[in-house]
Symmetry: C2
Subunit: 306 residues, 2 copies
């Protein structure tokens, strides 16, 4: 699966992923109004609003990008209807030939992780039929439980040609509280990185492994160290834009082949219409603001990499 | 919320929680057959089967226990229909006056954790209406992202009188890979435990805090240390029974007041009918096997505590 992602990155010349994390506050009034007229001020109404919002952003940007990353929490907060909107979004992005990174950050003991793996990147048998419950191409995974919590995911990666990104160093301000603590002379995130290499060995797909990792754009120095430490792992880099990461900070996350990283922006793209620099597109044409923000992000990263 | 749980534990004389983690292999043929006849061999059919299975176990045990702990992965693996069965199970357990610990192990950066907290133990506004998306009483939470990933949950605990259990030392074989690593002379799980104390200070509810923790029954020596280290935190103890923890191992997790811990058993209760010692109840009356297994577990723990 990682080779498929790389091909799409090369084709679009865009090592970026659009985070489809739709809070209602990002959704223009007119879309909310229409959804609420049809479904009431209900979870169904909210789910319809975020789905219509997503659809217009995807329609306006799919030719520019290789992948999207819906953050499932933003859908889960609207209960079952929200998760139905998540699934509709995944399916629609596949129709548009986009790869989907499910930002689900799941992880549990072995038998339970196996169920999460089936749910998100695998298949499940019911009687003689087989289903793909959520059908993402990649999922993000939390490493706190160690190898037996990860292995069910890597097994599914191997069986189904899917991928995962393991949290190594997250983008948030307090990520260092545990992740930066020193163990035998090295921070915890480096020990996790060593395991990412180990977990990824059995899932090589071309020059890279289907087992990638997450390292926040907000920590570029650590990104440089981790880039070298995990030469075969693709790095999913959140924290660009709204969280403070900038284009020049991103160079550290790439290999010399210009590959090895894919940078996520969520609010910076999907809520671009609310920012002064894109206000000219107006609320009504919010998806054009998103398209312009994607083009600017591509330019920012291209310039930083050259 | 923790004081409510304690009252129910005292009333039932049962510091135990039944893990409603229904794999299809635990569900008797007759229930599966009926569900598949109605909904086909589909995700809907599987979801109906696990819901009917849960209902009969809850009906047969609710008067003996204070709480249940559905593991959401077991529902998520059946996609949207599975999550609908999860929600139905939560609601039905509330009707039966059981408290519900959602074993969701969520955790992310601050703004995202806020959405998970709303989804599982909080409320969300849509227009002028307010909803409780999944409406659990407690949720389990992963600490890898540090304080700003936990705070949205503790905020909701304070606002809505709900609780969380933070993973400290998990029950699985490879939990030590990261959790046991030594940082400044102490294992990582102790540093997480210190934070659990800190996070719990603002959420005291009687003698205990609404911020509890998870420590596996499979690590009783560590349980003893952690019990002392977090005197105000209720410990949710998985790993009893199928994972190898025994009654005598559990003493370490309790305080001298006989409180401070609640022990989970999943397979040991819900799949009791498949074990030789409960075979006499037969597959047809599987819920009576579950009831007998709950009574045996209560006796095992009571004897260990006396």
């Amino acid at each position: 699966m990682i080779s498929k992602l790389i091909k799409k990155i090369q084709k679009t010349d865009a090592p970026i992923v659009v985070g489809l994390d739709p809070n209602l506050s990002f959704v223009p009034e007119s879309i909310q109004k229409k959804a609420f007229e049809e479904f009431g001020e209900t979870l169904e109404g909210a789910a319809e609003a975020i789905w219509q919002f997503n659809k217009r952003i995807v329609d306006a940007t799919y030719d520019l990008i290789p992948a999207v990353k819906p953050q499932i929490a933003m859908y889960e907060q609207f209960g079952i209807p929200g998760l139905q909107a998540f699934k509709k979004t995944v399916d629609y992005c596949h129709e548009k030939d986009l790869l989907v990174i499910g930002d689900v950050k799941r992880g549990d003991i072995g038998s339970t992780s196996a169920s999460y793996a089936k749910a998100h990147i695998g298949t499940i048998k019911v009687g003689n039929s087989t289903f793909k419950p959520f059908d993402e191409d990649f999922a993000t995974v939390n490493p706190y439980l160690g190898t037996d919590g990860i292995k069910p995911f890597t097994d599914v990666c191997a069986e189904n040609d899917r991928g995962i990104f393991v949290l190594v160093k997250t983008s948030n301000p307090s990520s260092g509280e545990f992740q930066d603590r020193i163990i035998d002379g090295r921070p915890l995130y480096e020990w996790v990185a060593e395991k990412v290499n180990e977990w990824g060995e059995a899932s090589m797909d071309g020059d890279y492994s289907n087992v990638g990792c997450v390292v926040g754009a907000t920590y570029p120095e650590m990104g440089a160290v981790l880039r070298k430490l995990m030469p075969k792992a693709y790095i999913l880099v959140p924290g660009y834009g709204a969280q403070g990461g900038k284009g020049k900070d991103l160079v550290n996350f790439f290999n010399k082949d210009g590959l090895g990283a894919i940078v996520n922006s969520s609010r910076g793209i999907i809520a671009a219409w609310k920012k002064e620099e894109y206000a000219k597109y107006t609320e009504e044409h919010f998806e054009e603001a998103s398209r312009a923000a994607v083009e600017d992000m591509k330019k920012d990263i291209r310039e930083a990499l050259n």
